[in-house]
Amino acid sequence: MSTLVDYLSSSSARWPDRTAIVDPGGDALTYAELDRRSSALAGFLAARGVAPGDRVGVVLPKSATTVTALFGIMKAGAAYVPIDHSAPAERGRGILTDCQVRAVIVDAHSRALMPSASDVPLAASLVVGESFDAAVAEARPAPDVARDASALAYILYTSGSTGIPKGVMLTHDNAVSFVDWCSSVFTPSEQDRFSSHAPFHFDLSVLDLYVAIKHGAAVHLISEELGKNPRELARFIAANRLTVWYSTPSILTLLEQFGHLEAQDCSSLRLVLFAGEVFPVKHLRQVQRRWPGPDYYNLYGPTETNVCTFAKIPPGIPDDRDTPYPIGFPCAHCEPLVLEADGHEVTPGEEGLLYIAGRSVFQGYWNRPVENSAAFLSRDGRRWYNTGDVVRWHPDDGFIYAGRRDRMVKRRGYRIELGEIERGLYLHPRIHEAAVIAMPDADAGVTITAFLSCHQDAGRAPSIVEMKTFCASHLPGYMSPDRFVFETSLPRTSTDKVDYQSLRRRLAGQGAA
């Protein structure tokens, strides 16, 4: 069984001088350079005491340096923990403390996130632009660490229902099984030029990075700033003659709406892949009209399994279609099972919860025994992950996504537990009660409304401007509610719980659905 590091070693031996990574700034790293620098970093980390099984936090914006860091950490036998560079510092520090990182790699901006020595004793802390640069410049071999496909490669933190992010633990073999499936379906080659739009703390980045590296292709990193600027992004795709695009539907919608695609020649694209949320058909149709050449695929799968079902979108989406496309058929390395809430298998065509077994299924959440026992079903001697997604089977379309039964929503591809937003809102000193409701929206995918009440002695309610500003400093941007509604007190059920159903009915009645 191979590891993600093996992909780099074999491509570096076969194509040492081909471009591996193109930085947002335009600088490029060849396969041989990426291999050498990451080995030097691994040697440095090992010399400082980072050992197989350790975790290393990475709090960097997207760059070739960051990719070097990821491979260096894995070559030391450790798992990388990528942290959102632009999220509130408290969240990042909480994650680094939660998984007890052995080392961190930061830059001048993210240095403030470094946990205190009493919370997390660190063997090494490296700063890009300073100590990191010196470490990778040395001619130091990688440590002699056995490459173990069953070892953790990375931990990705996702929104947790209790309001605290939880770490999804994935091994090399979990990732390799998915990457190898991509090879069989998308037939990549060293001639490909992959976009890398998703940040590294988002599981879409696994495809961009490792499928490209395995096949000797070039990865064109898109910075956070460029990623938000559709007009520049369209120019970037054309100028770099990208062949493979992978992002959330939200980004493709932005490109179609604001990117002036008619002004750019993007005919080099051969594959457009999207995942992370439902793609409103009217926007998908427009993208396909602007870019009629490539094959389009809808990829589905939670971070816990990466992609586990896929659907090829037929060319020429009819004008009258408004039903979203299905999530399709299971990938070869995954096995699906659809069960009723009581554990009985549904008859084909009936709705039920989707469970996944197979090589790509994660190892569990870091240090969360309660969540772990709830996440898996043991059946036929195998571990089945409960995705929490409700689906139904259709013989022609495969699986059709039908929604959720809990309080998790997807927005701009990010998974959001509404409880995490509520927890952020409660941090405001004047907020007494907070209830957050998500409603489907034909245009935006989902809209999030926060119903709030204030402490009686708190004086006037905060303005909406104040709440927006407060959320920006206490929650990741994609979690900030679209609407704030202040009430004297929130409606309660007979058992004195917040009556979410009545709030939801109110929103539906206002035509917010």
């Binding site: 938000k228 709406q257 104040e466 927006k468 900030s480």
Partner: protein
């Protein structure tokens, strides 16, 4: 100039701050550095300003220094129209 600021204010209130009192969105309220507008909302505002005032904005003109406050946005539109 005042009409222009009012037009921009009404669009922001209606689209991104439903229910907010106009008095809380001043000419000098930071829109992006404060978190009122995220990147997606900023794109929507740029697109609205272009259409409403018949101008075309380049990426460098929609940076924080000229596109973070209603008064700055109105001044930018005036400059563009005078060109």
């Amino acid at each position: 100039m005042n009409d222009m600021k009012e037009t921009i204010r009404q669009f922001i209130l209606k689209t991104y701050l439903p229910g907010e009192s106009p008095a809380n969105l001043r000419d000098d309220t930071p829109l992006r550095t404060s978190g009122i507008l995220d990147s997606l909302a900023t794109l929507g505002l740029v697109s609205y300003v272009e259409k409403e005032f018949g101008i075309e904005l380049e990426a460098h003109e929609t940076g924080l220094e000229s596109f973070d406050r209603i008064e700055d946005i109105a001044a930018l539109v005036e400059r563009k129209r005078a060109q």
